[in-house]
């Protein structure tokens, strides 16, 4: 059944396509596999090195490690997890990322709903301004915001990065959600209003459940953005509170200070990549939909 369904379009495609010669087909497949190899080699290299003893990493290429797999070891991971504050940094990354992912979803959803389904003066002007803010480099905000945090006495705290990440994530979140919510069927909200549901009820009972795909895509984006962020953490946490630093900053510091500790860096980098990769592979569908929805539409 499924086999028939999957082969059908393939047959149709070759019939429609220009019947590539067998040689052409081999060349095509070879090219794609070559490109995939180019994309995989850098990561495989680091992965192999993260399992090799320190002396090997420093004295030979990672590809030689493939020839002597009996030397591979988990020592680097044990060392990295045992020292150098990497576990703390991992926990810090979680502390920074989870609230910074959840809070903007709520704030953006309220605003997006207002932009999509309420009428008020300057609605389009304000929304266009939000679209404009999409491209503002956060570099242009660093110095005044840093001063604001100092004046408020929250410099170096998790609270400061939660606020900053929430605000920085808002333009894209509002934009994506407003486009999605705006495309929901009008009749649903009209009949809800006729039934006497106030906007708050319509929002929480109808708009939010119907927007789950967009909210999921957004949550993934914001999660990856915050988890992978270096600059915000470096500026707002870096100098004033080293105890709160996330993985990215700690690893970047390791890069510049280790010198001979390259074997640890590979393990550290993979620990930092574990969660994003997990999220990516588990939720790739939403991720792709979010990107194409945000970009092809807008």
């Amino acid at each position: 059944m499924t086999a028939a369904q999957t082969t059908k379009p393939a047959v149709a495609n070759t019939a429609v396509g220009s019947q590539p010669s067998p040689a052409g087909k081999i060349t095509l497949n070879f090219l794609v596999i070559l490109l995939m190899a180019f994309w995989l080699i850098p990561t495989i290299g680091l992965l192999v090195n993260s399992f090799r003893p320190a002396a090997d990493v420093a004295n030979s290429g990672w590809w030689t490690g493939l020839l002597s797999p009996q030397n591979l070891t988990l020592d680097n991971y044990a060392t990295v997890l045992g020292q150098s504050g990497l576990v703390d940094a991992f926990i810090n990354s979680l502390f920074i990322t989870i609230p910074s992912t959840i809070i903007p979803l709520f704030v953006a959803a309220f605003a997006a709903y207002a932009f999509a389904w309420m009428s008020f003066p300057f609605r389009n002007v304000i929304f266009v301004a939000v679209v404009g803010l999409l491209v503002i480099p956060l570099q242009t905000t660093l110095i005044p915001v840093l001063r604001l945090f100092r004046d408020l006495g929250i410099q170096g705290s998790f609270l400061s990065v939660w606020l900053a990440h929430t605000a920085y994530g808002l333009p894209f979140a509002i934009y994506l959600l407003r486009n999605f919510m705006g495309s929901l069927p009008k009749e649903v909200f009209e009949s809800a209003a006729i039934d006497g549901a106030n906007p708050a009820v319509a929002f929480f009972r109808l708009a939010i459940p119907m927007s789950v795909p967009a909210l999921a895509a957004l949550a993934i984006f914001q999660f990856l953005f915050v988890w992978n962020d270096l600059l915000v953490a470096l500026i707002y946490l870096g100098a004033s509170n080293p105890e709160n630093l996330p993985l990215t900053v700690v690893i970047a510091n390791l890069v510049n200070s280790l010198g001979s500790g390259w074997h640890l860096l590979g393990a550290a980098a993979f620990i930092s990549m574990a969660l994003p990769l997990l999220v990516f592979f588990a939720l790739q569908r939403y991720f792709v939909r979010g990107i194409t929805g945000g970009a092809v539409k807008g």
């Binding site: 393939a10 429609v16 095509l28 794609v32 490109l35 995939m36 994309w39 850098p42 990493v57 030979s60 990672w62 030689t64 926990i91 704030v107 309220f110 605003a111 207002a114 009428s119 008020f120 609605r123 389009n124 304000i126 939000v130 404009g132 803010l133 999409l134 491209v135 503002i136 480099p137 570099q139 242009t140 905000t141 660093l142 110095i143 005044p144 915001v145 604001l148 606020l163 900053a164 605000a167 920085y168 708050a200 929480f204 988890w227 270096l230 990215t248 970047a252 390259w262 860096l265 550290a268 930092s272 990769l277 999220v279 990516f280 991720f287 792709v288 990107i291 970009a295 092809v296 807008g298």
Partner: protein
């Protein structure tokens, strides 16, 4: 128990609860208002949290930075264009500006070119989804991790010793002397190599969007051209490519902004050594040195570079809204 855990739980559960409560409370409060006013006031309550955050963390600070760029280091006096005079008179700053221009041009060309090529190629193989995942996955990792990964591609050891970098390993296999990749600043070669790392990360982005647009092109249209005897290349050149142009424009703007903001990769891989500085890194460095006036001026240069793209974005958005 870690006291931070307590705080985090309070924040993760408490803040959304407060926000939801805020919306319901608004509704209750509005019942007190005359009916005509309810629909006029309500939107502003729904927008308030977002607009407040945007104002405090994006709009006002951007204005603040612009003002700050005309002040001295301690913000005690206005110094006119001094910070900009420094910028355009400083060799380091001009190299950073040049490199940022290279980032914009090459990252866009590499990502869109490769993304388009890969989108077209994988469209014709059976393992399309696997191939796309492989190209796409670097987008999920941090640029710091990407920097670490690529250090092992570019690593250099003295000639005669075993090479640890992949590229030099390949050269060694052919008996060619190793090349100190990231130190070669002739023709900004090392900057291009850093752009390659970012290309590795962002090609997947271009590919996914272009691939979606490609699949949206009607097969009948392409088939009609083929029946008329057009070669695959001509079908691509005269039908597929023109139809993809609007999407290419969208992808390009996103990548141009990414290129201008590129900071992490340079910071992790060279920290600006061997003339690889760019605007984003220079801004960080001057900020770190406490040169707030100059740093603000660098940020404003970055902003000015982005304004035309913002205008394009808004125009495109307006055109789309008109169609809706």
């Amino acid at each position: 128990m870690d006291p931070r855990l307590f705080t985090a739980v309070v924040v993760v559960v408490g803040v959304p609860a407060v926000l939801v409560g805020y919306i319901y409370a608004t509704e209750l409060g509005l019942r007190l208002a005359p009916a005509v006013w309810r629909d006029r006031i309500r939107p502003w309550f729904w927008l308030a949290p977002a607009l407040l955050l945007l104002a405090v963390f994006l709009i006002l600070p951007t204005i603040g930075t612009i003002v700050r760029s005309f002040q001295n280091t301690a913000a005690t006096a206005f110094v006119g264009l001094d910070n900009y005079v420094w910028f355009f008179g400083s060799n380091d700053a001009l190299i950073a500006l040049r490199n940022s221009a290279l980032w914009v041009v090459f990252l866009t060309v590499f990502c869109v070119g490769l993304g388009l090529l890969i989108a077209v190629l994988v469209d014709r193989v059976r393992f399309e989804s696997v191939a796309k995942s492989v190209i796409f996955v670097p987008l999920a990792i941090s640029m710091v991790a990407a920097g670490v990964i690529w250090r092992f591609m570019y690593a250099y050891e003295a000639p005669g010793t075993p090479q640890t970098g992949f590229l030099n390993g390949v050269l060694a296999a052919f008996g060619i002397d190793p090349v100190p990749w990231l130190t070669i600043d002739t023709l900004a070669f090392n900057t291009i190599l850093l752009i390659v790392v970012m290309t590795w990360m962002w090609t997947g982005f271009a590919m996914v969007i272009l691939s979606a647009a490609l699949k949206g092109i009607s097969p009948e249209l392409l088939e009609a051209a083929r029946v008329d005897g057009a070669t695959e290349w001509r079908v691509f050149r005269y039908i597929t490519f023109p139809l993809l142009l609007p999407t290419i424009a969208v992808v390009s703007t996103t990548i141009i902004i990414t290129a201008l903001k590129a900071f992490d990769i340079v910071y992790t891989m060279t920290n600006g050594a061997f003339d690889t500085d760019n605007i984003a890194l220079l801004m960080y460095k001057t900020l770190n040195d406490g040169e707030f006036g100059r740093s603000s001026a660098v940020a404003v240069v970055l902003l000015v570079a982005i304004v035309p793209i913002m205008a394009l974005n808004i125009n495109r958005f307006r055109a789309q809204e008109a169609v809706r």
